[in-house]
Amino acid sequence: MIVKKASEIPNQHHHHHMSTSRQSEPDDPSASEKWAANLLQDCAKAISEKDSSKIHHLLWMLNELASPYGDCEQKLASYFLQALFCKATESGERCYKTLVSVAEKSHSFESARKVILKFQEVSPWTTFGHVASNGAILEALEGEAKLHIIDISNTYCTQWPTLLEALATRSDETPHLRLTVVATVGMGGGSVMKEIGQRMEKFARLMGVPFEFHVVRVASQLGELKEEDLGLREDEAVAVNCVGALRRVAVEERGDFMRLLCSLRPRVVTVVEEEADFTSTGSEYVRCFEECLRFYGVFFEMLEESFAPTSNERLSLERECSRSILSVLACDGDGVGDCERREKGSQWFARLMQAFSPMNFSDDVVDDVRALLKRYRSGWSLLPAQGDDSGLYLTWKDEPVVWASAWKP
């Protein structure tokens, strides 16, 4: 793109300049199929090169074309534009805090429940991890009379009703279950978890499972969690369940966090994470940007195909993504609430190997997961880990998107 002077007014005339210099771009850049990626990446590049006029131009163009209510391309353009803008203007932290605050205000049990239950109905994105983890937990704690599950997840306890039902029906002696949920800032105010806790207790009563529920709140970073906060008891068998949790730990604290989990002496640790790498790219902005765009491109496309076209729940999920995107691409990471720097299964595998040994999912559990996927629309499939790592991958159109694994001490 040739921009002679920064003072040139962006107007129709300018488009022609643009189009001749681009590869095969027609006059209307929005006509080509994956136009958003091109523009966005060019902009990211311009930012990393500090090419001010180019930045302005691209931001302007993106603004023209983007919309959070349009098609996938427009949505991606919109949310990534926000991140690019904040990066360019160094206002990421402020913007993030605004988003968090607004979210907290509007966040209620009702709204959270609605969105996540709908999401689980139309997509196995979260239920995949739940089924695999529950299967591993039930098998590892078989025969124990007192169970303590330490739940560090972002799925608002939707994993547990089916586990409670399984505990109630499958064994003759129903064990006593204690559930300790570790909640971070991003999970809304105290009222949400309180309501969830009450529902869980009631449901457990209905199922006939002796049950206790506790919430442990972590003020800022998950890495601050301490063993003593959890109130472990002598006679119980511990399972640690981490769904979308490890990525919320600051990158440099992840090793320590593994050691903390190890110190809890669990019988089993279940880990579920999304398959993306926003960590190893480090300070290389453009590469990190590309990976971010790739991952959220898949996620948004999946959302679009899973929900009805005018779903409010999908809109909520997309907005939630915009915060993660902002956090990864426009914030430096210090004190901005939950970190969102995902790592791929193989990377987590290497980390977890420092503190635990891998545990394979049994055939029964794998069958359960397969049966689960059958209950959804086509496009989803199961891929056992090959080579160096262990666990299971959920794939969407043959692309691995979620990784589930189990570990023992």
């Binding site: 969105v115 089924v131 089916t162 209905l206 442990v216 005018t310």
Partner: protein
Amino acid sequence: MFPLATMSNSTSISEEASVSSETRAHDFNKSLSSPLTPISPPHYQQQQQEPQPKSQKKRSQPGNPDPDAEVIALSPKTLMATNRFVCEICNKGFQRDQNLQLHRRGHNLPWKLRRRSSKEGMRKRVYVCPEPTCVHHHPSRALGDLTGIKKHYSRKHGEKKWKCDRCSKTYAVHSDWKAHVKTCGTREHRCDCGTLFSRKDSFITHRAFCEALAEENARLIAASGPHAAAAANMTVTTITPPLLHHHLFLPFSSCYSLPNPNPNPSPYQLKPEDSLPSLHPYLHHLHTTTTTSSSSSPHMSATVLLQRASTMGPITTTSSATTSAAGGCQTGSSMFDAGDPSAWQRSDSLTRDFLGAVAGETGEEELLSFNGALGLDMVTAASRGRIDRPKRFAGFPPATDTWGDC
């Protein structure tokens, strides 16, 4: 209390043939029915009952045989064998002798259909399970039907070789599996709130969070004291106070600060006076309809926003959206918000400048204003001129679409 000790001629499990003995089951219940139908035991004088299992999980226990019946103990091998009766000509196996006889007719062999038992004064036969730990191992709990004892042995002590595709349930007996597969996934689950589910797992998860559950339990708790105490089980341990960032906003406060004042997460509909729908999908121009005071700092209370909403003018909502959104309406725009996005556009009239030139390279003063729902204005302060109108974007879907629950 257990007069069955007369079972002195009891068979050893390994024996192939049946051994009859003069054993009598304790007399209390003369009627003998198939082991699979739950027999209601009127007088359970024989006290070999297991501890009652929890709630309604198990049926009443079968196997209360005729006290005069002949007790037969078959070996596991016999019980598991299929197609015991083999045709000598073609080696085809049959489960029953009668079937083999009928088959022999085809070879022009002599065949004979023997009528068994009762008419000839032969005593009714009952069968015990060879597995010593099993309930039905004891003659007082013998099962009355050969097929029944065979199936029982497979089911309880055999390997589960058949698995349901849909739900992963396993079965040892093929016919059990077949029967299950027929109904698996076809049964619907209904929650107290009225919603119907085809999937058991979605049903369970829904049920756990459903309002109906909350209400039902509220009644129970009110009724019985001890439960109220149990509710106090839940504790919240806060390590340090949660993080609040309100004070940091002001210059930036216009963006994202526009929680939806409309209590109904309505479908996304245009106000009548916005004549936009047919425009180019990418470029829309919003009227700056409202006063700047509407774009306030984010920590404005919900009540105030609601009041503002009512003065701003109506947003048309469809009734279906209202009812279906019964659960979800809150003010606020992000994070699980099923809010009305149009409110964002309406109140983002305020253009705030907050930064000078990026990296100051050009020496020109370029003001970037960022307002409302990711609207981006670029206004060059230099005299070269401006874009006529601040171009805000808002992707309005075609007017025929509505936003609502999917």
